[in-house]
C-alpha cells in the first residue's frame, strides 16, 4: 500500500511503486482530469503539482510522490474558478481542451514563484504542447493575471 495525499484527501493505493503517478491518478483513484499525452514527459498534459511544484506525472513513479501533497486540476480551486482558470475562461483559451489541465497546472505553479513573469520566463517555464495552438491566448491570459 502506498499512501498518497491528493487534493487534501488521503488515498491508500495497492500498486507497484514504479507505476507512474499519472496512471495511479487516472486508473486507480479515478481522477481523469490529468491527461495522458506522450508518456515521456515531453508534452506536459499530465502535469500536476507536488508541493506546489509542476511535475510531469507520466514519468514520476508513484513511490516518489508518496507522503507529499499532490494537487491535480480537480483540486486546484474549490469551484474550478481559481485565478488561472478564471483567466482561461475570460480569454477563451481552450480549444479541444485536452492539454489544458496540464497547461493550467504548469501556469499556476509558475505564478506561485514568479507572480509577474516576463515573456522569456513564460517561455522557459511553460513547455507544454498544445496541438490546437492556444499559445497566444495562454500568454495573454498569464499577463492579465500578473497585472491583477
Amino acid at each position: 500500500m502506498i499512501n498518497l495525499n491528493i487534493n487534501g484527501v488521503d488515498h491508500n493505493v495497492d500498486v507497484d511503486g514504479d507505476m507512474p503517478l499519472l496512471w495511479v491518478l487516472r486508473d486507480k483513484v479515478g481522477l481523469t482530469g490529468t491527461k495522458f499525452g506522450c508518456g515521456i514527459a515531453q508534452c506536459g498534459a499530465c502535469t500536476v503539482q507536488i508541493n506546489g511544484v509542476a511535475m510531469r506525472s507520466c514519468v514520476m513513479p508513484v513511490s516518489a510522490a508518496a507522503g507529499q501533497p499532490i494537487t491535480t486540476i480537480e483540486g486546484l480551486s474549490p469551484n474550478g474558478d481559481g485565478k488561472v482558470q478564471a483567466a482561461w475562461v475570460a480569454h477563451q483559451v481552450p480549444q479541444c481542451g485536452y492539454c489544458q489541465s496540464g497547461m493550467i497546472m504548469a501556469v499556476d505553479a509558475l505564478l506561485k514563484t514568479t507572480p509577474k513573469p516576463t515573456d522569456s520566463q513564460i517561455d522557459a517555464a511553460i513547455t507544454n504542447i498544445c496541438r490546437c495552438g492556444t499559445y497566444a491566448r495562454v500568454r495573454d491570459a498569464i499577463h492579465d493575471i500578473a497585472k491583477a
Binding site: W23, G30, F36, C43, T72, W88, C96, Y98, Q100
Partner: protein, 717 residues
C-alpha cells in the same frame, strides 16, 4: 457535468456512486423520472424544459474548433430563446437511422460543421419558434401574428399577457411544424454573429470535460497494443514466456496485424506489451525507405504523358518560345496528426446483446458503423457514447476506417469484459494516416512585363482519394491532390496542371488543410520566385494576377492593409505574403520575420485575414486562425515523418517536434465576412501561413526554400 451525462439526461438517469478511491461507477436506469417529465421535444434538434431550459442537439463533433457553440448559436438565433438557458447534447447516431437522416451528415471533416448544415439547423430553430408562438396564441385564443417573442418569452402586447417557452413547450410539441419558414437576414443577428463564450469552456478548465479516454466502468480492464511496425505487415508469433510473471496481466490477444495485452491497469498492459518479443511478417515492404520513396516521386515528376487536370492555352508552345523561363521543384514530407488525445476506444458487451462504445471521433456514424461491422451487432443495439475529442485534425474521420474501434471490439470480445484500449504515443505516430508526401515541378515563362504567360505544374504524390474512396479515381486522376492548381485563380493565359499518382505502402489521409497544406506552399512560393525574377513587389504582383478573382483580391488587400504592407520594418525584419481559397473561405497571411544566425527564421508576427462569408462566432474564428498558425508552423519548422525499413522512424514528441510557447509569434486576425456564402474556418487559416513565412525568408536571404521542414532533425538524434 460531463458530456455522457448530458447526453443521457433525457432518456436515462445516470446514477453515480463514489466508492473507494473516488472511482466512479456509472449505471443507467431507463427514463421516467419526474424531473424530465416536462421536457418537450419540439423537433429533432430542440428540447424545451419545463424550467425554460433549451437543449440544442449538435450533430457534429466538438474537437476544439468551436462547432458545438457555433451551431447552437445558429439554432438559438432563429429560436429567439434565452442564450443563457442553452445547453447542448451530441446526437446519438442511432437517431439519424431511426429518424431518416434528419441530422444530415455527421462527419465533422473539411471544415464543414457549419457551412453544410447552417440552413437546416436554422430552419429547425425558426420552425420551433413558430410552433411555440402558435401554442401560446392557441392558449390565449388570439392570432399568432399579434404575438411577439424575445429571449424565450412570448408576449401578447394588447392584453399584456406573457408565457415562457417552458410554459407552452408540451403544447407546441403537438403542433404541426410550419410548411415553410423564413430565415433571418444575418445582418439582424443578435446571438449568432457575436463572440459568445464557448459552451464547453468552464468544464475544460476544471478537469471535468469528458473525453472518451476518461471513461470508467465497473470491472473495466485496460489494453495496450503493438501493431506491425511495417505497414501492411502481419503478426507471425510472440513469446509469452517473457511476460509470464508480469503483474496485472490478464490476457494476450492476437490480432491479424497486432498484439494487445489486457491488464488490470493501463500501465501494466503497456509495460507488458513493450516487454513482449513479437515476430512480424513484414509483407514485403521492409526495404522501403524515405530515399526510395523520394526516388519514386522524382520519377513521377519526370514521367511523360500524365493525366491532365487543366490545360489552358498551349503551355508547351508558350514555354518553348519564351526568353525568361523559371523552373523549380518543391518537396514536402509525410506528416502525422498527433492529436493530443491518443487513439482510444472502450467497448462493453452487455448481457442483453447490446454494446456500449466510447471513442473520440469526428464522425459518430462512422464509429457506429465500425462497431457494428466488427461486433456483428446491429447498429440500433449499439450505444456510441459521445464525448469531446482531444483533437482530431482529420485522423478521426475521413480516410481513417475506425481502426482503433475494430481493435477494441475484438479485444473486449476476447477478454469477456469491458476493455479500454489506449494507443501509446508511439503507436499513434507510427500508425497514422499521414499527410501525403508530395513533390511539385513548376515551370513558368515571364513576358516582357514580368508577368507569367505560361505556368506548367506537375505534382507527384500519394493520392488520399485512392485510399479513402478508390472507386472515385478515374484515369489515375485525383483532382483534390491538385487543389489550388486545377482551380488556380491567377490569370495566366497558358496554364497546365497534371498529376503523377505515386502511391506507396504508407497509409495517407486527411490532415488538417489536407492538400491545401502543401499546394499553397508550392504555388505561393513559386509565385514569389516569379515576382522576384520580375523585380516586382510580391503583393502588387498578386494583385495584378487576381484581377479576375475579386474575393481573393479583397482578402489579400485586407491582410496587406492590416499588416502595413509596404511600410518600413525595423532593420533585419522582412515580410512575406500569400493567399489561398479553400473550404469555402478566402484567406491571406503576412509573416514578419528576421533570420537567426543559424539560417532559421524567427517569426515575429503573423497577420491573417479571412472571409468566411458569414462570421457565426468571430472569436471562434480568431481562435481557429491563431491555432492554424501554431499547427502550420510546427509543420514548416519541424514536421517530418520519415520511413526506414518500411516503418516510421519517429516515435514520440522528442523526435516529432511541436511548436511550443517560445516560438509562437504574435498573431493578428482580421475577419472580413463579405456575406452571401458560408465558408469553413478550421482549415483555411493554415495554408497561407507557411508560404508567407517562406516568402519572407526569400525576401531576407534571396534564396528560395524548396523543401520542408526548415529545421531537419535526424530521427536518430
Amino acid at each position: 457535468m460531463n458530456k455522457v451525462m448530458k447526453l443521457g439526461r433525457r432518456n436515462f438517469l445516470k446514477a453515480s456512486a463514489a466508492v473507494g478511491g473516488g472511482l466512479m461507477l456509472g449505471f443507467y436506469i431507463p427514463a421516467g423520472n419526474a424531473a424530465a417529465a416536462k421536457d418537450a421535444e419540439i423537433n429533432a434538434w430542440i428540447v424545451i424544459g419545463g424550467d425554460d431550459s433549451v437543449l440544442i442537439r449538435v450533430a457534429h463533433s466538438e474537437m476544439g474548433q468551436g462547432a458545438m457553440t457555433g451551431l447552437a448559436q445558429l439554432v438559438a438565433e432563429e429560436l429567439e430563446c434565452d442564450w443563457n438557458k442553452v445547453k447542448t447534447e451530441f446526437v446519438d447516431p442511432r437517431l439519424n437511422i431511426t429518424r431518416n437522416k434528419v441530422y444530415g451528415g455527421m462527419a465533422t471533416v473539411g471544415s464543414r460543421a457549419i457551412r453544410t448544415s447552417h440552413e437546416y439547423v436554422r430552419k429547425a430553430g425558426a420552425s420551433a419558434r413558430i410552433m411555440l408562438v402558435n401554442a401560446a396564441a392557441n392558449r390565449w385564443k388570439v392570432s399568432a401574428a399579434d404575438c411577439t417573442v424575445k429571449e424565450g418569452v412570448i408576449s401578447h402586447a394588447s392584453t399584456g399577457r406573457t408565457l415562457t417557452y417552458g410554459d407552452v413547450a408540451e403544447a407546441a410539441a403537438k403542433i404541426a411544424p410550419p410548411a415553410e419558414v423564413t430565415l433571418k437576414d444575418p445582418a439582424t443577428w443578435t446571438i449568432a454573429g457575436q463572440p459568445k463564450m464557448r459552451l464547453d469552456m468552464q468544464e475544460k478548465v476544471n478537469g471535468k470535460a469528458f473525453y472518451a479516454i476518461d471513461v470508467q466502468l465497473d470491472g473495466l480492464l485496460y489494453a495496450a497494443i503493438a501493431q506491425s511496425p511495417v505497414f501492411g505487415g502481419k503478426l507471425k508469433s510472440y513469446d509469452e514466456t517473457a511476460i509470464k510473471n508480469a503483474k496485472g496481466v490478464r490476457q494476450i490477444v492476437a490480432l491479424p496485424n497486432a498484439v494487445a495485452i489486457v491488464a488490470d491497469s493501463y500501465w501494466e498492459a503497456q509495460k507488458a506489451v513493450r516487454a513482449l518479443p513479437i515476430a512480424w511478417d513484414n509483407g514485403g515492404n521492409e526495404n522501403v525507405s524515405s530515399a526510395s520513396i523520394a526516388k519514386f516521386l522524382d520519377e513521377g515528376l519526370a514521367a511523360k504523358d500524365m493525366p491532365v487536370a487543366r490545360n489552358d492555352g498551349d503551355v508547351e508552345k508558350a514555354l518553348a518560345g519564351a526568353a525568361n523561363v523559371i523552373s523549380a521543384e518543391y518537396r514536402v514530407p509525410y506528416l502525422s496528426h498527433a492529436s493530443m488525445e491518443p487513439m482510444n476506444c472502450t467497448v462493453r458487451f452487455n448481457a442483453d446483446g447490446t454494446l456500449d462504445v466510447w471513442a473520440p471521433t469526428q464522425n459518430a456514424e462512422a464509429i457506429l458503423g465500425a462497431a457494428a461491422r466488427s461486433s456483428g451487432i446491429e447498429p440500433l443495439k449499439i450505444n456510441v457514447h459521445l464525448s469531446y475529442s482531444g483533437g482530431g485534425f482529420g485522423r478521426r474521420g475521413g480516410a481513417a476506417p475506425g481502426d482503433y474501434v475494430d481493435q477494441a471490439v475484438a479485444i473486449a470480445k476476447a477478454a469477456g469484459a469491458p476493455v479500454k484500449l489506449v494507443w501509446s504515443r508511439e503507436e499513434d505516430l507510427q500508425h497514422d494516416f499521414y499527410r501525403p508526401i508530395s513533390s511539385a515541378k513548376m515551370t513558368a515563362a515571364l513576358g516582357p512585363d514580368g508577368m507569367p504567360v505560361a505556368w506548367n505544374t506537375r505534382i507527384s504524390g500519394h493520392s488520399i482519394l485512392s485510399t479513402a474512396n478508390p472507386s472515385a479515381i478515374k484515369n489515375n486522376m485525383d483532382q483534390g491532390f491538385l487543389v489550388l492548381f486545377h482551380d488556380n485563380v491567377y490569370d495566366v493565359p497558358n496554364l497546365k496542371v497534371d498529376y503523377a499518382m505515386r502511391n506507396t505502402h504508407v497509409p495517407v489521409g486527411y490532415w488538417r488543410s489536407v492538400n491545401h497544406s502543401q499546394n499553397a506552399y508550392f504555388r505561393e512560393c513559386f509565385l514569389d520566385e516569379l515576382a522576384r525574377a520580375a523585380g516586382q513587389d510580391p503583393y502588387e504582383y498578386r494583385r495584378k494576377l487576381l484581377h479576375k478573382a475579386p474575393k481573393q483580391l479583397a482578402v489579400l488587400e485586407a491582410c496587406a492593409k492590416a499588416a502595413d504592407w509596404g511600410k518600413p520594418l525595423p532593420t533585419g525584419q522582412f515580410r512575406g505574403i500569400a493567399q489561398i481559397d479553400g473550404y469555402g473561405s478566402y484567406a491571406a497571411a503576412v509573416a514578419e520575420i528576421s533570420m537567426n544566425a543559424d539560417g532559421t527564421p524567427h517569426v515575429h508576427r503573423i497577420v491573417q485575414a479571412i472571409d468566411p462569408g458569414y462570421a457565426v462566432n468571430p472569436d471562434s474564428i480568431k481562435a481557429q486562425m491563431e491555432g492554424s498558425v501554431a499547427w502550420t508552423l510546427s509543420a514548416a519548422l519541424y514536421g517530418e515523418i520519415t520511413i526506414k525499413d518500411g516503418r516510421v522512424e519517429q516515435g514520440n514528441f522528442d523526435r516529432y517536434r511541436m511548436l511550443l510557447m517560445n516560438h509562437m509569434p504574435k498573431v493578428e486576425t482580421v475577419v472580413v465576412p463579405s456575406g452571401g456564402f458560408w465558408g469553413g474556418i478550421g482549415e483555411p487559416g493554415g495554408p497561407a501561413v507557411v508560404p508567407a513565412l517562406i516568402n519572407a525568408m526569400l525576401a531576407a536571404t534571396g534564396k528560395p526554400q524548396r523543401s520542408l521542414p526548415l529545421i531537419k532533425r535526424s530521427a536518430t538524434v
